[in-house]
């Protein structure tokens, strides 16, 4: 009589614990932070924390920039539509700034910022001419800028700057506009046929990180309102920016979580109700799941400070696994239909459920071994969820569950008795030749396995924003690539000098066609060393008593006083332009985002950094080589790095799966003995190999995520093996439990296989194949023939 007492005690204690968890969850739920940035799942790319922070800040900055092209058949329509589009966005709280008009006096204000320092500022071309003593070229250029229509393009006043030295510097300091031209205060371009539309550029900056913004309703709502406003005016809009991808990805994730979760819930409820004929069973199973998920969310929030939305998508299949324990327990009633009481299952099945829970827990815990933040979170989430679901079944079900009606139980029992007998007969008769053929097929499949570690597996397939992005890139021709250089130095001057050394290499690469263009801070602000050198060059060649300027001005007919005044102004300008004076002026506007500032912050000596962005990379290897042996310069290619990380972790994950087999063997050997343990691990190991073979034969390229899925396959097929092959448990009731559990897992993971995010698709399809392999192999290998089992089995019948 002590057992029912213990059962009651555990029931109430666990209920109290569950209540505490739910209170904690309710208290924490409003603060639950969802992360949607894919890169947050990956290990940081940089070696040191300061650099990682700086890169993260730059990525965040870059991620907030959006470019839109509003196009129509004629310029006037496009301009009006761009205005409507920009005004709609500007009214949105999601956007901090929207620009569609270029301030007409920007060039004047930029020139004014540079003017007090012009004595040390030279365009690279002018510097080269002066250094080479090529006066003729310099004078020819100056004459063209005075006499011809080219005068309307000069950036400085003709009388004020007869040699156009300052004008040429201003032109070289301006970032390239690409295909855009200025017209009626807007930047515009004409698309080549067949498009042929005239587009007007609109820039917009998000108020917050693109991924957190995408979670808010405002961004998606206001973006579609702005698109609609442009459409009403007869224009089309194409855009490029992280927000478009983030909004689409968030919508897709929401859609998939709702769809998969909804379908799964409906099928699960219907099947459970039909099989067990008991709302109490359904309620109990739901309570175990709810407790598991609530606790997992609470723990993840505590440990990581946030929960990644992909953890939720991934773990939506947790339900498919966690519900297994409820099924195994409840299905025990069909062992002895009509005579079964809920607490009588505990001594019979409790141990097996606990062992299978422990094995699953262990295989998830091994996932956390890989230093992969996203995986750790998924592992923790699943471990907590599974442990609580498993414990809930053991604590609640013995007191909570009521058996189904005797007639229904008899019917189901009869069906599965026949099925079990059929399975034993088939297992006995399977010819050895069949096993041999299977072995050959597996060997063939394994030989054809191919691995691809590509970052694209992480990105949901979103054709619409991708197509827009591609079109914008093609039209503008100057959207920065994802790879860039990180330049560091002990002070801003050192950063600029490092940049200038790097630029010498980049100019050579650009001339060779290895890249189309780049944007660097030092184009707008030469280092003080360069400014001093240029000033010396100008003093020696241009501003002397009989220098180039004096001769040219005399030739043009300027009075001697004007010449003397220019020379005096030059002599008076001795301070170079420093970064802190420049960075807040309008002149620095196009470059400001490239300056990262002191990335060491308060830790250790200051370390300053800037970013050199690249456009149209044609030869990534040459660019990587340009940074080699160059202290202070690093080539950062997030995409390649992520692919490298995926490659490394794919290998680790494969090792973890391989290690799981002997570890599980040990775990089984402890309660069941070595012989049984070997026999129990036979089907799961074969299921692993068979799954790999199926993937190999069907030509699927495998990534890290298929390997993670193999992990789940191993855990699930070990459960099936335990219930189907262990003589003490094996029988019609276990067969029913396993068929039901496998069916539900197949539905859960089969649904994930429909996901448009490649890695979730990979997980889903691999586990779906693996579940079938695990079930069929565990069934086909038959119940383990031990003396004890025969006696026990006979007694049961």
């Amino acid at each position: 009589m002590s057992a029912p007492k213990g059962v009651r005690l555990r029931y109430w204690l666990w209920s109290a614990f569950a209540a505490a968890v739910l209170i904690a969850f309710a208290a924490g739920a409003p603060r639950l932070k969802l992360q949607t940035d894919i890169l947050a799942l990956l290990p940081p790319a940089a070696e040191d924390a300061g650099e990682a922070r700086a890169l993260a800040r730059f990525a965040d900055q870059l991620g907030r920039q959006n470019v839109f092209l509003v196009g129509a058949a004629d310029f006037a329509t496009a301009r009006a539509a761009a205005q409507g589009f920009a005004q709609t966005l500007a009214a949105s709280p999601a956007f901090a700034g929207v620009q569609w008009q270029v301030p007409s006096d920007w060039l004047q204000r930029a020139a004014a910022a540079y003017a007090p320092y012009r004595a040390g500022l030279l365009a690279p071309q002018t510097r080269a001419w002066l250094e080479a003593g090529n006066d003729a070229a310099l004078l020819a250029r100056a004459r063209a800028a005075l006499y011809t229509p080219a005068a309307f393009l000069r950036a400085s006043g003709a009388g004020d700057d007869p040699l156009d030295l300052f004008g040429d510097f201003l032109a070289s300091a301006l970032p390239a506009q690409g295909a855009l031209t200025l017209r009626q205060n807007v930047l515009t371009l004409r698309a080549p046929p067949p498009d042929g539309k005239t587009y007007v550029l609109v820039r917009a900056q998000l108020a917050d990180n693109a991924f957190s913004t995408a979670e808010e309703d405002a961004a998606a709502r206001d973006l579609s309102a702005a698109y609609a406003a442009a459409h009403r005016r007869g224009a089309t809009v194409i855009g490029s920016g992280l927000i478009l991808h983030a909004v689409a990805a968030a919508q897709l994730a929401r859609h998939e979580v709702n769809l998969f979760g909804g379908v799964q819930l409906a099928v699960l409820s219907a099947l459970l109700l039909w099989v067990f004929r008991s709302p109490r069973m359904l309620l109990g199973a739901a309570a175990t799941l709810a407790l598991g998920v609530a606790a997992a969310l609470v723990v993840c929030q505590r440990v990581f400070g946030e929960v990644h939305v992909l953890t939720l998508v991934f773990c939506s299949n947790l339900a498919g696994i966690a519900v297994d324990y409820s099924i195994y327990y409840a299905a025990d009633q069909f062992r002895t239909p009509g005579r079964w009481r809920a607490e009588s299952a505990l001594p019979h099945l409790g141990g097996a459920i606990a062992v299978s829970g422990a094995v699953a827990l262990l295989s998830y815990a091994l996932l956390a071994w890989a230093p992969f933040p996203g995986l750790r979170q998924m592992a923790l989430f699943c471990c907590v969820g599974l442990a609580l679901a498993c414990a809930s079944v053991l604590a609640w079900f013995p007191r909570w569950l009521r058996p189904a009606g005797a007639a229904h139980a008899e019917t189901l029992h009869a069906v599965f008795v026949r099925l079990a007998a059929c399975r034993e007969r088939c297992a006995m008769r399977l010819p050895r030749a069949l096993w041999l053929i299977l072995a050959v097929a597996v060997a063939l499949g394994l030989a054809r396995l191919r691995f691809v570690d590509d970052v694209s597996v992480l990105q949901p397939h979103l054709p619409e924003p991708l197509a827009q992005e591609k079109q914008v890139r093609a039209l503008l021709g100057s959207v920065p690539d994802s790879a860039f250089f990180l330049v560091r130095g002990a002070d801003p001057e050192a950063v600029l000098e490092n940049e200038e050394r790097l630029r010498a290499r980049l100019d050579a690469l650009q001339a060779r066609g290895a890249l189309a263009d780049y944007r660097a801070l030092s184009r707008g602000l030469p280092s003080e060393r360069t400014q001093a050198r240029d000033r010396a060059l100008l003093a020696a060649r241009v501003y002397g008593a009989d220098g180039l300027l004096a001769r040219f001005m005399r030739e043009l007919g300027f009075p001697p006083a004007a010449i003397a005044q220019q020379q005096a102004e030059f002599a008076a300008q001795t301070t170079p332009l420093a970064l802190d004076r420049w960075i807040d002026t309008p002149a620095a506007e196009p470059y400001r985002a490239l300056w990262l500032g002191d990335i060491a912050r308060t830790r250790g000596p200051p370390l300053y950094a800037s970013v050199v962005t690249l456009t149209g990379i044609a030869d990534a290897a040459a660019l990587r080589a340009a940074a080699q042996g160059f202290p202070g310069v690093r080539y950062v290619d997030r995409v390649a790095e992520v692919s490298g990380v995926l490659h490394r972790y794919r290998r680790i994950a494969l090792a973890v799966v391989a290690a799981s087999v002997p570890v599980s063997l040990l775990l089984f050997a402890w309660p069941y003995g070595w012989r049984s343990a070997f026999s129990l691990m036979l089907a799961p190991t074969a299921a692993l190999l068979a799954t790999l073979a199926v993937l190999g034969l069907s030509g699927v390229t495998l990534s890290f995520f298929n390997v993670v899925a193999l992990h789940l396959v191993l855990g699930l097929s070990m459960e099936y093996s335990l219930l189907l092959r262990l003589p003490r448990l094996s029988g019609p009731a276990s067969l029913l439990a396993v068929v039901l559990a496998a069916g539900l897992a197949l539905i859960a993971f089969g649904l994930l296989a429909l996901s448009r995010t490649p890695f979730i698709h990979a997980l889903g399809s691999t586990v779906a194949v693996g579940v079938v392999c695990g079930l069929v192999l565990a069934a086909a290998l038959g119940t383990m023939p031990t003396v004890g089992s025969i006696r026990e089995g006979a007694g049961e019948r």
Partner: protein, 215 residues
């Protein structure tokens, strides 16, 4: 010659940036100007290119005397212009929406892409529309003015966009059948006067010019 210079100095004296010519008292619509220009503008509009000679005087406000140059030009509709200065130096400037190319007597060529010259597209468009007297396109960029003058006409243009107004206060075009003189009043107080002569309308662009102006 001396008389001409004197005349110019006189015009320079009266036509300061703050005191624009009388034509700006007569706002006009595209239709009114079309009537004013008569059949001449239609012939211009149908030509593929105009070729002729120019004399240019650039008045800098810091300089008492203008910078004078002369040579020949070719404007091809929708493609760009070739500005060949022959005196006081020899230099050929090609402006297209894509690039500025400068070839000097030494043969050395300097090419600057439009990406580094944000105003290039606008300048090429304005010159194109000026030479072709394309009123529709001029109206998009400028407020139009017009008056009859002796045998010919005077057109006045004031830029609409602030970006262009930063550079250019006004343009005055005088002509009989074709534009004979264009005066560009620059915002800084400088002024450019272009005189054209010997214009011929080309029905098709010569192959060498086509190659030169190829996009």
């Amino acid at each position: 010659m001396k008389r001409a210079v004197f005349l110019f100095l006189l015009i320079a004296g009266t036509a300061r940036a703050d005191a624009l010519p009388e034509v700006f008292a007569h706002p006009a619509s595209v239709e009114q100007l079309r009537a004013l220009l008569g059949p001449a503008s239609r012939a211009l509009a149908q030509a593929a290119a105009v070729r002729g000679e120019f004399r240019s005087r650039k008045f800098l406000h810091e300089l008492p005397q203008p910078l004078t140059s002369s040579g020949d030009f070719l404007v091809a509709r929708g493609l760009g212009l070739v500005w060949h200065t022959r005196a006081p130096f020899d230099s050929e400037l090609t402006l297209t929406p894509k690039a500025l190319v400068q070839r000097d007597a030494g043969g050395a060529a300097l090419r600057i892409d439009a990406a580094q010259l944000p105003g290039l597209g606008a300048v090429v468009q304005v010159f194109d529309a000026l030479f072709a007297l394309d009123l529709q396109r001029l109206a998009a960029q400028f407020e139009l003015y017009g008056a009859r003058r002796d045998k010919g006409w005077t057109l006045g243009l004031k830029p609409r966009a602030a970006a262009m107004a930063q550079r250019l206060n006004a343009v005055v075009i005088e002509g009989v059948t074709q534009p004979q003189q264009v005066v560009l009043y620059e915002a800084g107080g400088d002024r450019t006067e272009l005189e054209f002569s010997g214009q011929t309308l080309l029905e098709a662009l010569p192959p060498d010019a086509r190659a030169q102006l190829a996009p």
